[in-house]
């Protein structure tokens, strides 16, 4: 992380916190919704985008964090309950990740699908702990002796998002993070390079689970209700959409993707309201969401971040390194190899 990117991120964080604090409750809600979703997307991107472990259990994992934090919060732990939720999720994430030491790719992904369904089932069944289908009513976070309001939550959530981003950015610039990337590309190569693949995976699951739990805890406190229907497979799909739209393997992209996926439906809906008789606007909004995911995957598989990079690269092509030349050089070398083999 360069000093410049740190300062830009800090300025953006302060900017959004101010927007959240000053523009009324609705905007505050949007700001903290995006911030919370971003924390979840960061966590998922660590696992899928950086470490290459495809998971569909993100929704349930966020749920674990929400219940963990909610139960701790109701027991009077205050802000520390966010930490409780995060730790709960990290442990459950580790449990979900253990099969990854034996299974790979598709098979592991399907096993996480199972984890998603089983966890969601447990939320409904463990009545004494989770209050079952009724959902756990969570006491509000107290701030200056009063329940925190939307504006304060906006500041808190943006602050936590900034911290999460900072921590994760630093971690992926250590050997721990580098190992994730190598494991993603090829476990065989990683092992040959002396990387402990199992340890890298376990670290990725713990790390990702921790932040998923933080995201869940914030959901519990801001919505004041942790109910199983909020943590179904749809949430996993939304979160995956965020990191794909934003850019796999890009932390900044996760945040952009989260903003996009969270705000786009609202934007479509507002535009739709200008039309007469748009009762089924939700249907169109879902349709747009589906089409958007498909288009992104087809046209820009590396997400908005890659798109932006391409635009900037074109603009500053002369000043920057001449990437196209290198690429053609490389491909030339490969064709030479093919020629030899033929």
């Amino acid at each position: 992380m360069t000093k410049r990117s740190f300062l830009v991120a800090l300025a953006l964080a302060i900017g959004f916190a101010v927007v959240g604090f000053e523009s009324g409750r609705f905007w505050a809600y949007l700001v903290y919704s995006v911030a919370i979703a971003s924390i979840g997307a960061l966590s998922l991107n660590i696992l899928i985008g950086y470490c290459g472990q495809i998971t569909f259990a993100q929704g349930a994992l966020i749920g674990v964090g929400a219940y963990g934090a909610g139960i701790a919060g109701n027991a009077g732990w205050g802000a520390a309950s966010l930490l409780v939720g995060a730790v709960c999720s990290a442990l459950v994430s580790l449990l979900i990740g253990l099969p990854a030491l034996r299974l790979r790719g598709l098979y592991f992904a399907i096993s996480t699908l199972a984890a998603q369904f089983i966890l969601n089932y447990l939320f409904k069944i463990l009545q004494p702990l989770t209050n079952g289908v009724s959902g756990l009513v969570v006491k509000p976070l107290m701030l200056f002796g009063r329940p925190a309001n939307d504006e304060q939550y906006a500041v808190i959530c943006v602050g936590l998002l900034f911290l999460s981003w900072l921590v994760l950015t630093r971690i992926i610039q250590t050997n721990v993070g580098r190992a994730f990337l190598v494991v993603r590309e090829s476990e065989l190569v990683a092992r040959g390079m002396g990387v402990d693949v199992a340890r890298a995976k376990i670290q990725a699951f713990l790390l990702s689970g921790f932040f998923a739990g933080l995201c869940g805890g914030l959901i519990a406190f801001t919505s004041r209700l942790a109910n199983p229907e909020a943590f179904e497979i749809g949430l996993s799909v939304d979160q995956t959409a965020m990191i794909i739209v934003g850019g796999l393997g890009s932390l900044g992209g996760s945040i952009i993707g989260a903003g996009f996926v969270t705000l786009l439906p609202e934007a479509i809906e507002r535009l739709g309201e200008l039309l007469p008789s748009a009762d089924l606007i939700s249907a169109f909004r879902e349709m747009a969401f589906g089409i958007l995911i498909i288009l992104f995957l087809l046209l820009e598989p590396r997400g908005i971040v890659a798109l932006a990079r391409r635009i900037f690269a074109r603009r500053g092509a002369a000043a920057r390194t001449n990437l196209p030349d290198r690429a053609s050089y490389g491909s030339g070398a490969i064709s030479a190899q093919n020629g030899r083999k033929a």
């Binding site: 250590t174 050997n175 580098r178 990337l181 190598v182 040959g192 002396g194 393997g249």
Partner: protein, 249 residues
């Protein structure tokens, strides 16, 4: 400082990939392992690099048995390798990969906390000077590996292997896929690496010109077994080698 491999054999299903293969490598020696496609060269390297588990045989490095050790264990003993095909490690920069390689070595690896809070500047400079400069990689030190040419990627892989200060280096087709000129350069680099780091080298390679000009000694394999061993000059003269290998090429 010697590698001794005795009677190593491995079968995959019904196919004998390597049969009773033996190999000795002395200190600071560059040994070339050549042979036609399917001769079992890479399988042999995999066996002594901790990737595949041979059925029978023994191997020792400085008197220590190395069969059954993982690549990570081998790295700690000073045995490193490069890979035949360079995967495109998308988001890693050259420095990233080299640092990851260095992590396998106790002295160069840094603690997590010092990496997390500290600056990498000093380390980067040291790597540039000691590893990247000899391989002509300083200019691209901060470029993502995917943006490099094939030849540069091979160099990066070599730098990564060198980062953990190996005393024995396996090179799996270091020249394959490079242009003629790049290949010759790589040969020179390998010799200078040997001189600089004082390590022994085992290189598997197809390209005869590079092998002949780089290696001190050549071992020829065919059908999983050794059929010849000698200096480059002797190898070129040997009729059997010419028949099974050079004739094919």
């Amino acid at each position: 400082m010697t590698l001794e491999v005795r009677d190593l054999s491995i079968r995959f299903g019904g196919v004998a990939a390597v049969t009773n293969m033996s190999l000795d490598v002395n200190a600071r020696e560059i040994v070339g392992l050549i042979g036609p496609n399917g001769a079992g060269k890479t399988t042999f390297i995999n066996c002594i690099a901790g990737v595949a588990q041979p059925d029978t045989g023994a191997a020792s490095w400085n008197g220590r048995a190395i069969l059954g050790l993982s690549p990570a264990d081998l790295l700690r003993l000073g045995v490193a390798r490069t890979f035949q095909s360079v995967v495109s490690l998308h988001d890693l920069t050259v420095l990233d990969l080299v640092k990851l390689g260095a992590a396998a070595h106790a002295r160069r690896g840094r603690g997590f906390l010092s990496q997390f809070f500290g600056s990498d500047k000093a380390v980067d400079e040291e790597i540039c000077e000691s590893l990247l400069a000899p391989l002509n990689l300083v200019d691209v030190a901060n470029s993502p590996i995917q943006t490099l040419s094939y030849g540069q990627r091979k160099s990066v892989d070599l730098a990564r292997a060198l980062a953990c200060e190996p005393q024995l280096l396996y090179l799996d087709e270091p020249v394959a896929g490079l242009t003629f000129q790049e290949g010759l350069n790589m040969g020179a680099v390998i010799r200078s690496v040997r001189d600089r780091f004082g390590c022994s080298v085992v290189m598997v390679e197809h390209k005869m010109d590079v092998v002949m000009s780089t290696c001190d000694r050549i071992v020829v394999m065919a059908h999983g077994a050794r059929i010849f061993e000698g200096t480059p000059a002797e190898t070129q003269k040997d009729a059997e080698v010419r028949r099974v290998y050079l004739g094919d090429a």
